[in-house]
């Protein structure tokens, strides 16, 4: 199963200050461990929210709001995508991670990624999946 590992932002990460050489080195080693364990699928660090934007949805309306955003703790500073056997394994790996935000309190969140079979309860007969398939075929045959 796959998990998204979310590194929460802090005041420091939101200033856009680059991580120290020490932290980069340690994170590099940790990433190498993840690769060697065969669990790392993808991962990236994110620029501060000041460079980002949000699009708010309300009924038919779309409003664009530029960053930065206030609720620092709820923002994401980086992520990994892992393939592991259980949530517990993901937790054990996160516990081995170097402190991502030295000198300040921070948090890493673990969230399971949906797989096709997880949607089965909302689609017990497979009808929705079937419809999706038909729709695809239709659009494809039109394109041809």
């Amino acid at each position: 199963m796959r998990f998204m590992i979310l590194i929460k932002a802090t005041k420091d990460s939101e200033t856009g200050a680059l991580p120290s050489t020490e932290l980069l080195t340690e994170m590099g080693k940790y990433n190498e461990e993840l690769v060697k364990a065969g669990i790392l699928l993808a991962g990236e660090g994110l620029h501060p929210s000041a460079k980002g934007a949000r699009v708010k949805f309300s009924g038919g309306k779309r409003t664009v709001v530029d960053g930065p955003f206030a609720e620092t703790k709820e923002l994401i500073a980086g992520f990994w995508l892992w393939q592991v056997k259980s949530k517990e394994e993901a937790i054990e790996w996160v516990k081995r991670c170097p402190d991502p935000m030295p000198g300040t309190e921070s948090e890493i969140e673990i969230r399971q990624v949906f797989e096709a079979e997880d949607f089965a309860p909302s689609d017990p007969t497979g009808e929705l999946m079937e419809k999706e398939n038909q729709l695809r075929e239709l659009t494809e045959s039109k394109r041809r």
Binding site: V35, K36, V84, K85, E88, I91, E92, G126
Partner: protein, 423 residues
């Protein structure tokens, strides 16, 4: 933490730490079986103590220290025994004092080499292929006997027996705990790759039972492949195999219909293909080719899988290139099964009649007598040529040969779909 939460945490720690633990210990005691027993002892100690004391901050180090103590105890005891028997006295005492610090030094070494030794030992040719598979999953994948048994649909005692016997065989044959060199490395590496691909394939197209795919087994094989690529990054075929598995795994979700029935490649909803795995697969092919592996059998197979992955719609598939790649593959590893696949590609590129010609040449092939895909492919080509009576017979024959229930149903459906002549 509740008892069951601790239990799950220990399971997870075991999955992360066991291979390194066993590999480190195996170098000390020069016996994979003994190393695994020592590691298991440490695990049992953890199961006894952690629910009360809590999981230590560095559980890997705790397990290693515990296992190391047991190894030293065992070592001392056997030395004492030896001393009693041979009355060597002082001399051995000195040797023991020397030997114990060695344990510490040895355990601090780079674990990568140990893991690699463990991979090569578990896949040693003195073992049967089944034993290699079971041992690799057990020692490197951290799977329990029960998990391996469930994955391969065999009774647990069978797997347990297989593992015990494998460890005994390695010990009795005095298989050294080492990475082979030169020409032997090539030969042994191909055995390692074969074992990993076997595990993947058992997950990808289950040969028995009523499941068509067992994704968990594919994940285990992918993980093993990625570990191996980390251990021997300069071997092109390792990247070729990883590429092949990533690309095939990218289709896992699309290979199964809503009620668990198989969906053939050309009927799959390509929107369900996993683009992340496709990108990873294509990158791994590039690595293999950059290392000079363009003509490695796994890399060629990966290149074939990549042709499918790149086609957004079935009609965009570059069948001529696939047929050419199969021709290369047939030169590298000639086999009737490769030839059969080539026939399919040729039929797609140059028409069913051209494919049927190649398939018919395989009819006298003894090794394909009970291979359900031969009549299945032949049936498909005959149906395309409008020879429905023959096609129906072939689908029925294919259905009688497969051991997979899902596949049998699919084939019988195809047989029924062949129109009968109107009378």
């Amino acid at each position: 933490m509740t008892a069951s939460a601790t239990q799950r945490a220990i399971d997870a720690i075991w999955r992360i730490e066991s291979a390194r633990l066993i590999a480190g210990l195996a170098r000390l005691v020069r016996d994979v079986g003994l190393a695994e027993e020592l590691a298991q002892d440490a695990l049992v100690a953890a199961l006894e103590r952690w629910p009360e004391s809590g999981v230590p901050d560095n559980p890997g180090a705790w397990l290693m220290a515990t296992a190391k103590h047991r190894a030293v105890d065992l070592f001392r005891r056997s030395k004492l025994l030896e001393r009693k028997h041979e009355e060597l006295g002082q001399e051995l005492e000195a040797q023991r004092a020397l030997a114990v610090p060695e344990f510490d030094a040895a355990l601090d070494d780079d674990v990568g080499d140990d893991l690699l030794r463990l991979v090569f030992t578990a896949c040693h040719p003195v073992l049967s292929t089944e034993a290699r598979v079971a041992l690799t999953l057990r020692l490197l994948g951290g799977l329990t006997t029960g998990e391996i048994a469930r994955a391969f649909l065999v009774p647990e005692p069978t797997i347990a027996q297989r593992i015990v016997r494998a460890k005994r065989t390695l010990s009795e044959a005095h298989v050294p705990f080492e990475v082979p060199r030169g020409a032997e490395l090539e030969a042994r590496l191909s055995s390692v790759l074969q074992v990993i691909y076997l595990v993947f394939n058992e997950g990808y197209s289950a040969t028995a039972g009523d499941d068509w795919v067992r994704p968990a087994l594919c994940e285990d094989a992918l993980r093993l492949g990625r570990i191996l690529a980390g251990l021997v990054p300069k071997e092109p075929e390792v990247h070729g195999l990883v590429a092949l598995m990533e690309l095939q795994a990218s289709r896992l979700r699309a290979r199964v219909g809503p009620s668990g029935e198989p969906v053939l490649l050309l009927d799959q909803n390509r929107g369900r293909w996993d683009q992340l795995l496709i990108r990873r697969g294509l990158a791994a092919i590039e690595r293999a080719e950059a290392l000079g592996g363009a003509r490695g059998p796994y890399t060629v197979q990966a290149a074939i899988a990549a042709c499918h992955a790149r086609a957004r719609r079935p009609a965009e598939t570059d069948w001529a290139r696939i047929a050419a790649l199969y021709e290369t593959l047939a030169e590298l590893v000639p086999s009737p099964v490769v030839e059969l696949n080539r026939a399919v590609a040729v039929s797609m590129a140059f028409g069913p009649a051209a494919g049927l010609e190649l398939v018919d040449a395989l009819l006298s092939e003894r090794s394909l007598e009970d291979y359900h895909l031969l009549p299945s492919v032949r049936g498909d080509l005959l149906a395309k040529l409008g020879r429905f009576d023959e096609a129906r017979a072939e689908f029925e024959r294919a259905a009688s040969l497969t051991h997979n229930e899902r596949e049998r149903k699919l084939l019988l459906d195809r047989a029924r779909a062949c129109p009968r002549p109107s009378t």
